[in-house]
Amino acid sequence: MKLRWPTWVRPRAAIGLLVVCAALAMGPLLHDNIYWHNQLTLTFLGIAAALAWNWLGGYLGQVSFGHAAMFGVGGFAAAQAQIHLHVPMVPAWIAGGVLAGLFALIWGHPTLRLRGPYFSIATIGVGEATRLVCTYWDAFTGGSSGLSLPMQQNLKHQLYWYGIALAAVALAGSYALRRSPLGLSLLAIKSDVDAAGDVGVSSTRLQDLVLFLSGGMIGICGGFYASYFSYIEPGNMFGFDRSISWVLTGVIGGIGTIAGPAFGAVVFVLLQQSLIASYPQLYLGLYGMLLVLVILFEPLGLTGLALRVLHRARPDLSVTGVAGED
């Protein structure tokens, strides 16, 4: 049987993704600079999480300030599975992700009836409540002292490649959600949920589906994070600043675009890591300024900026219709 791509997949995009992944995967074979190695691994994690956040916040316009809840649930579930059930690392991440996705559905199914700022405020409550419950839930999170994961040989090298895979899966997911027939329905819901219903878009089911995928992917990221640092504690995993960082990366990179949040994540991680040693709080200040500039001048963030430059250089290229053009 011959493998056929769906009509909405551009071969160029698929090949491009594979080439970039292959090039990045060569990294550790060519150099052994541990600093850049770690830096890139964290960047891949940031990319995957920012893209997953964007499925809900960008495609559906339901901006969540509580995604750290799923990050933590996925992380601790994966850690528990590895410590007590001796599940191998990757299946443990996936189990953690599924659990995080289901957890997202439990609070999200009722909450997604709210829209815009009302939904966002509800997610702040969910995030903080989850953090508090989990801080006191010793059996699940080890309480304030946290959990230590089993040590493994050569883990950091493995995780570099898993990180590439994670980011690639998230990017492919972003592409599929946006460009498949589903993508138009999501944008219709974002624009006008009632009018979307009137033309047959089942908004409740689609919103639940996207929330499950988004929460699940964030949960997998939590599992990855737990393995990477091999020690996790609730205050960090469920931290509000973690949720905020995904909102920032999404908005600055280009909310609702396919790959924008990935750029946002690259800038965020690099700024954070290069400034945190000398000026611990400065990167947040810089990021805040970027946020203000984006909101004032370029609603599509870095992606919008790139498209403008591209459009100036090549006015013949249409840069507005990102997907589903006729």
Binding site: L184, A196, V199, G200, D326
Partner: protein, 242 residues
């Protein structure tokens, strides 16, 4: 002719207010039925119940033999009853083609490529094909109303509910709109239930007219019968003119 859309004893209460009180409507296959009445008579509430945006307090709704009472809006759209909005609600972040494509993909029951072809063809049908790559923000009100109708038609409906699609456009555009509505029925075979304040359009398009006043059905018949009905005149102009 059998009724394609039938409402039996629909009522809707908002607290103490009866917005619709025991309204029964039958739309015959292939016909155009007008639903008229003064402002606040309950026309839009009636539409909202038929399209599933509001659940009725009591009463039943059928499409053909199938009961659709209480189904959510998206299922009613897929079952073949699609509404347009009095105040147009295009998807601002989608191109005209994408506006229609999303409706066709979700509700026409066609496979993906055929659904997209239907969306293209429907835009052609309402006269917006050359602007299919544009966004709705650049359209005039009349064109947006056409888009609203094209999006509805892309669902491949059995029944189209048109909520004041003529009101608010200039006389030349209104004449074109009347022609378009007639073509939807004649060329697409879609039965139409329309509310409208522009009486000239109602008189020329509708085979039957049903009149609502204060939530109650007060008259029903051909347009000529209805405009001569003393109760209808009283509802619009006051008792001394009846």
């Amino acid at each position: 002719m059998p009724a394609i859309l039938r409402a039996e004893g629909l009522s809707k209460r908002f607290g103490g207010l009866k917005a619709n009180d025991n309204v029964s409507i039958a739309l015959e296959q292939g016909s155009i039925l007008g639903l008229i009445g003064p402002n606040g008579a309950g026309k839009s509430t009636c539409f909202a119940m038929l399209a599933g945006s509001l659940p009725p307090t009591s009463g039943r709704i059928f499409i053909g033999e199938r009961e659709i009472t209480g189904l959510p809006a998206f299922q009613i759209a897929r079952a073949g009853v699609v509404r347009t909005h009095q105040i147009v609600r295009p998807f601002a972040n989608l191109t005209l083609f994408e506006n229609c494509a999303v409706a066709a993909v979700q509700s026409s029951g066609l496979a993906h490529e055929e659904a997209r072809a239907l969306a293209r063809e429907t835009l052609e049908f309402v006269g917006l094909a050359n602007r299919r790559r544009e966004y709705p923000a650049g359209l005039t009100l009349a064109s947006r109303k056409r888009l609203e109708m094209a999006r509805g038609l892309s669902c491949k409906p059995k029944v189209l509910l048109l909520d004041e699609v003529i009101a608010g456009v200039n006389p030349a555009e209104a004449r074109e709109m009347v022609t378009l509505i007639r073509r939807i029925r004649d060329e697409r075979g879609v039965s139409i239930l329309m509310t409208e304040h522009v009486m000239a359009a109602v008189m020329s398009l509708c085979e039957h007219v049903t009149v609502l006043d204060a939530g109650k059905l007060i008259a029903s018949g051909t347009p000529q019968e209805v405009v001569a009905n003393p109760e209808v005149i009283a509802a619009y102009l006051g008792k001394k003119h009846a």
